[in-house]
Amino acid sequence: MSGGGLRARLVVTRPAFTLDVALEVAPGEVVALLGPNGAGKTTALRALAGLVALSPGGEISLDGRALHAVPAERRPVGMVFQDYLLFPHLSALDNVAFGPRCRGASKAEARRAAAALLERVGLAAHAAARPRQLSGGQAQRVALARALAVRPRLLLLDEPLAALDAHTRLEIRSQLRRHLADFDGATVLVTHDPLDAMVLADRLVVVEEGAVVQEGTPGDVARRPRTDYVARLVGLNLYRGAGDGGRVKVGELLFSTIEQVEGQAFVAFPPAAVALYRSRPDGSPRNLWQARIDGVERHGDNVRVHLDGPIGAFADVTPAAVAELDLTPGRTVWASVKATETHAYPA
């Protein structure tokens, strides 16, 4: 038996979908399941909570205790649902006190514990409010307090910030990060927002089509994406090719890179590193290719140019450059990337 925390192999077989995800979370660690819609993240979370039964081969152990045969109501698990699901007929205080009451605390005891938790999330003044009187951010904090009130050893958060507007989100995100840091059990959160995942989690597990495609620290995943989905999330151009020392062959193109990679390799570079020219630049810059402009869209303060050609790529240029170079869809341009701006790593 190895220490505490969560060790799980989540197997859920459905007619048109199979989830098979291995997960290990140490006590005090926050792991984010990141993935596109329909990847199976929420199913994984529901399986951990006991709301979805595991298929043969699946198992869950928490602090050394097998959980997969334990019904949801007896698992030491707290869950924050995507739209919080606060009981509409109970006050904020009674929502938080609900768990302790179900687990045998007296009414007074449960309310005392609930009041202390509401205080901790800064909502002592709203204890008597009904859920419909709370703002989205307040409801989210009540939901967190309610999940923590059962003193879980595993905390599950399903898209905890998705229902909030952009402004509230920023504030709640940093508060949530603080509360998660205080929590000494294992935490698994599900999100499709890379920013939420990067800010809140110690480790990312990227799930696509029911399987783990990449995992690592947020920095690691952001620097070395391994799938198109992750590359898009972290905003990098990503190609798979064959490494040969300081060069990686991607299709017909040969990329010069700083890192030395042999065999199957990835090359990644940010869209801002791509320079565009109307005509072939003088000299012989490396990593040069001819591309056709497929589309142009605003991207923050810059303009993102979608390039078609031997490789598909994004290039970020200034609005001034768009005007100067007359970058309109259909036009052919030359694109280049400096070797120092690329990043190569084994596939």
């Binding site: 909570a49 006991g50 709301l51 699901l85 009981f87 768990g99 869209e297």
Partner: protein, 288 residues
């Protein structure tokens, strides 16, 4: 050419104004109601309202108060109210769990059970009364045993009235509550389970409060049906003043001997029903 550079707000703004235009057009076409619908609608309304108006027109207003105060009227009214309320209570105690079973537990033959539950809705009440006699009568399958084991006889007693009314009215409650259960968001029940609530606690502290409007609506329908019950009551419980003669039975009896009294009794029944329904109609319409 520079279309992709158009900021998104411009597009969504156009979409919004399109929505407004559509709404305006919809208001535009809903001009005059076609006669083919209007005429039958008005006739239907008259058909429903005229008999009630007749009751009011022919009521013996000058003697109304004196007639109302007659002991047999008050006795029948009290009996009706008590029996309808008890029958509703019986339906709540048995019908809410039955509705829960139909809505939440998948078991073989659930469709058949659901159909059986609604049989009293389409069964002529007199037939229901006969059936009750065959089962709960003195010689009935269960009645025999009830009498020998507990000395309880139901037919021709006030308890029999409650049984007859509950039998006829229960489907209204079950259907209403089952609908509310199906409409309720089950994820609240899941949230309660993750907080450690057993299924009974979930039902008591989460499900029931969430479907309270549906239960109330069902109880009102059930009560109204029980209050008006005639056929099953007279067949199973008979027509004894003070013990089983409820308002509808009193109306029927009075019609043969003293039509004016029948009108007065009917008015009382009408007033009680309308008062209850008017008070709760909005609530159950919005709940269902």
């Amino acid at each position: 050419m520079d279309a992709p550079l158009t900021p998104a707000p411009g597009r969504s703004g156009a979409g919004k104004s399109g929505g407004r235009g559509r709404a305006a057009r919809e208001r535009g076409v809903s001009g005059r109601a076609p006669l083919a619908l209007l005429v039958p609608a008005v006739l239907g309304l008259a058909f429903l309202v005229l008999p009630l108006a007749g009751l009011l027109v022919r009521a013996p207003w000058p003697t109304l108060l004196r007639r109302l105060a007659e002991p047999y009227v008050l006795e029948a009214l009290r009996l009706s109210l008590v029996c309808a309320t008890l029958a509703t209570a019986v339906c709540l105690v048995l019908g809410v769990p039955l509705a829960w079973l139909l809505a939440r537990v998948a078991f073989p033959g659930r469709r058949v059970v659901r159909a059986l539950v609604t049989v009293p809705l389409v069964l002529p009440p007199v037939v229901g009364g006969v059936a009750l006699l065959l089962v709960l009568g003195r010689r009935g399958l269960l009645g025999q045993w009830l009498e020998s084991a507990f000395g309880v006889t139901l037919p021709f007693t006030t308890a029999g009235v409650v049984v007859a009314e509950a039998f006829v009215a229960m489907p209204f409650l079950v259907i209403s509550v089952e609908g509310a259960l199906r409409g309720a968001d089950r994820r609240y029940e899941e949230a309660a389970a993750t907080l450690g609530a057993s299924r009974w606690t979930v039902f008591r502290r989460v499900t029931l409060p969430l479907i309270a409007p549906g239960v109330a609506a069902g109880a009102v329908l059930c009560w109204a049906r029980a209050l008006g019950e005639f056929g099953a009551t007279i067949t199973f419980a008979g027509n004894f003043p003070g013990t089983t003669r409820t308002m509808p039975l009193a109306v029927y009896l009075a019609l043969e001997t003293e039509p004016e009294a029948a009108i007065v009794l009917s008015l009382v029944l009408l007033a009680v029903s309308v008062a209850i329904l008017a008070g709760l109609r909005d609530r159950w319409v919005s709940a269902s």
